[in-house]
Amino acid sequence: MGIEPVIEARHLSKTFYVREKPVRSIREVVLNFSRLAAQKHKIEALKDINFSVNRGEVIGIIGRNGSGKSTLLNLIMGSMKPDKGSYLKAEGRIMKLALGMGFDPNLSARHNIYVNGSILGLTFKRIGNVFWDIIGFADLEDFVDTPIKYYSTGMKTRLAFSIAVHADADVFLLDEIVGGVGDEGFKKKSQQIFKDAFLAKRTILFVSHGLKNIKDYSDKVLLIDKGRQVAFGDPAEVLAEYKKLSRQFENPHLVTS
């Protein structure tokens, strides 16, 4: 069809092997050497996920707590490796935005902007050019050289959002900070940006429990439950599915009756 998907997952699975008692010290490694394989406890965090995302699409990801949403984002980031047999393609510079993310708490906003921007592919010259835009957008003019650890959560999120918007990452993974963050003023601004980012052909995957956000912003929705893909596609249909699932979860006896 000519459109190359930016992110594509086929039979994507992720299994964790967890030990009841973690073997993390030299003594334990030596003592447990022969039994290393035996005591493992298998957790299938994700099982057979199939979806693809085209450039410029906004994908909402929903699911109850512990359903594997964060693991999915980590896999796309590349900070975890999928199981054998999985196929996962994720192109471009990817940045994850989550609460309390991406900053060195002991450094000032200035240093953090340079480090983060640079990793997202900007040269220092370009960062210098947009530096005050980033600060201005996040309303942090008075705190440029204050260490991040003194920032409030709202300030941190605003800064992360602002860096991401100015840094031209190709794919954004948003963990629970969709549909605006901060007070009303900033919320409006970030909502606007959220729509503009869509217009600017950027690709966004976001995790949210707010069904209204999912409905308002996403082109497609992926619903996962207990690591398994329940539905992927049109928001209205998937949301109906999700509501059905939640009802089952709240009143298990309803299903049987």
């Binding site: 010290s25 030299i26 975890m80 990817i94 060195d104 000032s108 240093h111 900007l122």
Partner: protein, 314 residues
């Protein structure tokens, strides 16, 4: 008065890289409180800024490269954090080796009757070089945790983290080696054209440190208390690398050890260049350089195999 100093600090800051930035902010507070320390603070800020702007200028002449810039910035930040959180700052990096030298000097000249020529400089150089290795490897164990914020949220090349950490250790070393050179002039070390050999020696030192740091961190992904084991290895290394006595004495007893421990060759050639003024041992120079390169390649290969486990395990 406060205003003038504020302006001066600012102008210093604007001139060079923003090397003094973190300090600057904190110092502003101090300045308004404590007028007696004005002079010392200014000298301090200017000194650290001088070093920064020299290297900063050198970096500016390089072609604009995103990766180099980033590595340099991370190294700078690392360096600032290590030394500029306390008043004496960089001086701490010097005080430690100086005290070690004083103690070893007294013990070895008075009790063991060491007859090394120019023993103070002999010790100074050995302890400085071993200090680089010890700091570059031990300090690297904090990287994966302290830079976790980058690893998890942005696709950072982890190799950059190791390169920049090693560079930051070498920044402190650059300061120390300058002090050594000043000492060496006064204590009449032999300087001549053979000094060129220090360049390959330092390159070897750099890659050996980096390779070891990467390997150590790979182990750290799986074993939490590798630090204690490493402390022991560093301790053994300190006593077996010819820091306190001539390298030749070890080679006489264990000839093969020179192939195993690159520091025997590194120290020997560093002393030849910066103390005795005689040509390097060319075989060891080349051998160690190759040793270092192989070490980095192997370390990188092993680390790449395991790096996806960082988020899971740490």
């Amino acid at each position: 008065m406060v205003l003038i100093i504020n302006q001066k600090v600012n102008s210093i800051n604007d001139k060079g890289t923003n090397f003094a930035c973190i300090r600057n902010n904190r110092h502003m507070k101090q300045i308004t409180h404590d007028s007696a320390t004005f002079a010392t603070i200014l000298v301090h800020v200017e000194k650290c800024n001088m070093l920064g702007s020299i290297v900063g200028r050198a970096v500016k002449y390089l072609p604009e490269n995103n990766r180099l810039e980033r590595i340099w910035k991370l190294a700078q930040i690392d360096f600032l954090r290590r030394y500029y959180n306390d008043r004496l700052g960089l001086l701490w990096a010097l005080i430690n080796p100086l005290f070690q030298i004083a103690v070893y000097y007294l013990v070895f000249t008075n009790i063991f009757n060491s007859r090394e020529e120019n023993f103070i400089l002999f010790l100074f150089l050995g302890i400085l070089i071993w200090g680089v290795f010890s700091e570059a490897t031990k300090g690297s164990l904090a990287i994966l945790r302290s830079k976790r914020y980058l690893i998890e949220n942005i696709q950072v090349n982890k190799l950059d983290l190791f390169i920049s950490h090693t560079i930051s250790v070498f920044m402190g070393f650059a300061f120390n080696i300058t002090i050594y050179l000043i000492f060496a002039v006064f204590l009449e070390a032999n300087f001549n054209l053979n000094i060129w050999a220090i360049v390959p020696v330092l390159i070897t030192l750099f890659i050996v440190c980096m390779g070891t740091a990467i390997l150590l961190n790979t182990a750290y992904i799986f074993i939490d208390d590798i630090k204690h084991l490493w402390d022991i290895i560093v301790f053994i290394g300190f006593w077996s690398s010819g820091i306190l006595y001539s390298v030749d004495k070890i080679v006489e007893v264990f000839p093969a050890f020179v192939y195993l421990n690159p520091f025997l060759g590194i120290l020997k050639n560093a002393r030849n260049a910066l103390l005795y003024g005689i040509p390097p041992d060319y075989f060891l120079l080349l051998y160690n350089l190759t040793y270092g390169l192989v070490l980095v390649l192997v370390a990188n290969f092993v680390f790449r195999k395991c790096e996806h486990l960082i988020t899971e395990k740490l």
